[in-house]
Symmetry: C2
Subunit: 342 residues, 2 copies
């Protein structure tokens, strides 16, 4: 089977994003937010049937690890209660989609982060999503300020309360930033990629995984700039007197395949061990168009991976086994899938 | 001949960096800086003979486009006079090295930037370096705050006074950040690469080169994450309704070859037109070690380029002709070289 580790609910019903706008306006005006609107199962079905599910069918993807729209997490906006309420609404909506299509989606939650608020305050929502909603992982924003990078590095002990809960629950985090308010950056064009590179370098510099050997991170968008500069990172590891990447970082860090052309995917698989690569497409997501050079969607990453001509064993790793190893709670999700199919 | 477009004076005499420390301490203490120390020609020769010049000889590099140490530009520190004095000292030292070895170096200046100070105030130093010291280009820091990204995008009109002077003087800028004070980032491991990616995306989003068709930028470190994600950038260009990269960006933007492994160089040449690639090594620089997999220095990028098996015409472009086109004032520098050799 084929598992896509990186899908966002970018097509949520307009009532959902409309409520966010109302919530933001209310916060700005100092009023309480309006009640969250009723969204029917029909609305939810309509929001995925002809987009996410159709594309999955067309591309032969069986299961998508599905999380709220990353750019809309908006951790920079408002305050802790605003972020918490929006996060619960987003996660609940993903949970409903998963329950409608248990064979096709597994849930990953966003966290109710806010710049300056201790990450320990996000643990309650992580537990709720994993233990009550059956989610298999979370998205962790290393820069809830929205492009101002005011939080300590991911290796700082202030993040450990979340990590300890992740290890206990046996769920990984995808390191994923959200929208930017800093005009230097474009969310999907530079901020996302910068965050991936930044996170990897932070992990290279410290002993986080010695402290927490059970912690696992997925760095999306093919690892940002890292595989392209793999020699630079190997050289810096050496210069900084750090243990080799293969020992100190790569047992715990995984890249997805959200790289939207064949040469990029070729390079990724050429330099990164196949055990560290999870199939992902980020669809329906950052780049929605069709590449005039190929006639196919830029984000139809399965085509690039298929074109590698991997051995059956490696293919199985990239498309399924690595995802099940990194997200062990997928086993339960897959059991639901079988039950649904029976 | 072989021109390396990206070399920094990272081995400057200790008295030079010692003065910077004294200048910083004086500023912090509210005292005037001590006088700049005497540095002899012998000190300067000793600082490059067994490092930069030896490595150039060993690697068959004829001429290095040589600028002050990037991480030491330190635009974030102090105030405008501090940055201006340090910048003049750095540029003067590079000019002395160039005059000692006119056949081997061509000067590129750092600019006396400070966060919040209008870039127009840097034009005097640019003119001095180009018109009086014979420099061929400048390094432009898109983030003089040192990792807090408080400046407007490079496409903002506030940068235009510098650009107009660059066009008039017919010199390009390498977009190059400096040290970071933001603990999220590692200078050479993430900040440099992020800045490259950020700058490219800014250029993609706006019409800077329509306003200033004679403006040229070199984006170092192989273009950051850009070539690896070339499909993403092509797709975003389309999604944002921007003109094709080949029309609106690439006539004015060039990448160097500071990518420290063969697969990265292969990808760079696979996706970026050879007319847009300038040979560079960033040596003696970010990564000084030897790759145990090859037995050669990570930053010996000539080996990777040679291994591509380019046609003689393409080889000539990458090693010489593109650099002379982007830095037309190199012609004068090369004339000096011939005079020196005669």
């Amino acid at each position: 089977m084929i598992i896509d580790c990186h899908g966002h609910y970018t097509t949520a019903p307009a009532a959902h994003s409309g409520w966010r706008e109302a919530q933001e306006a209310a916060f700005t005006a100092g009023r309480p937010a309006p009640p969250y609107p009723g969204i029917s199962d029909g609305d939810l079905r309509a929001s995925v049937e002809d987009s996410q599910l159709r594309l999955m069918r067309e591309r032969g993807v069986d299961l998508t690890v599905f999380s709220p729209r990353a750019s809309a997490m908006g951790h920079h906006f408002g305050d802790e209660p605003v972020s918490a309420a929006w996060t619960r609404a987003c996660n609940d909506l993903v949970a409903r989609v998963v329950s409608l299509y248990p064979g096709h989606f597994a849930g990953v939650c966003q966290l109710p982060q806010s710049a300056g608020v201790p990450i320990a305050r996000s643990v309650v929502e992580l537990r709720r999503c994993v233990e009550e909603l059956g989610f298999v992982g979370c998205n962790l924003n290393p820069d809830p300020s929205g492009g101002h990078w005011t939080s300590p590095p991911l290796t700082d002990r202030s993040w450990y309360p979340l990590y300890e809960a992740m290890v206990e629950l046996d769920v990984p985090a995808m390191v994923h930033v959200s929208a930017v308010t800093n005009p230097s950056f474009h969310a999907t064009g530079s901020h996302y990629l910068n965050a991936d590179t930044t996170a990897f370098m932070q992990l290279l510099q410290a002993d986080l995984f010695r402290d927490l050997p059970g912690l696992r991170f997925v760095i999306p968008h093919g690892g940002g700039a890292v595989p392209y500069h793999w020699g630079r990172f190997r050289g810096l590891t050496d210069m900084l007197g750090r243990p080799p990447l293969a020992e100190a970082v790569m047992p715990n860090v995984f890249f997805d395949t959200c790289v939207y052309h064949q040469p990029g995917i070729d390079l990724l698989f050429g330099v990164v061990d196949v055990d560290n690569i999870l199939f992902g497409s980020e669809m329906v997501g950052a780049v929605r168009g069709i590449d005039p050079r190929t006639g196919h969607h830029f984000d139809d990453t399965r085509r690039y991976v298929d074109a590698l001509g991997l051995s059956p064993a490696d293919r199985h790793k990239v498309y399924e086994a690595n995802a099940r190893r990194v997200y062990p709670r997928l086993d339960t999700a897959l059991l639901r899938r079988e039950t649904a199919a029976a």
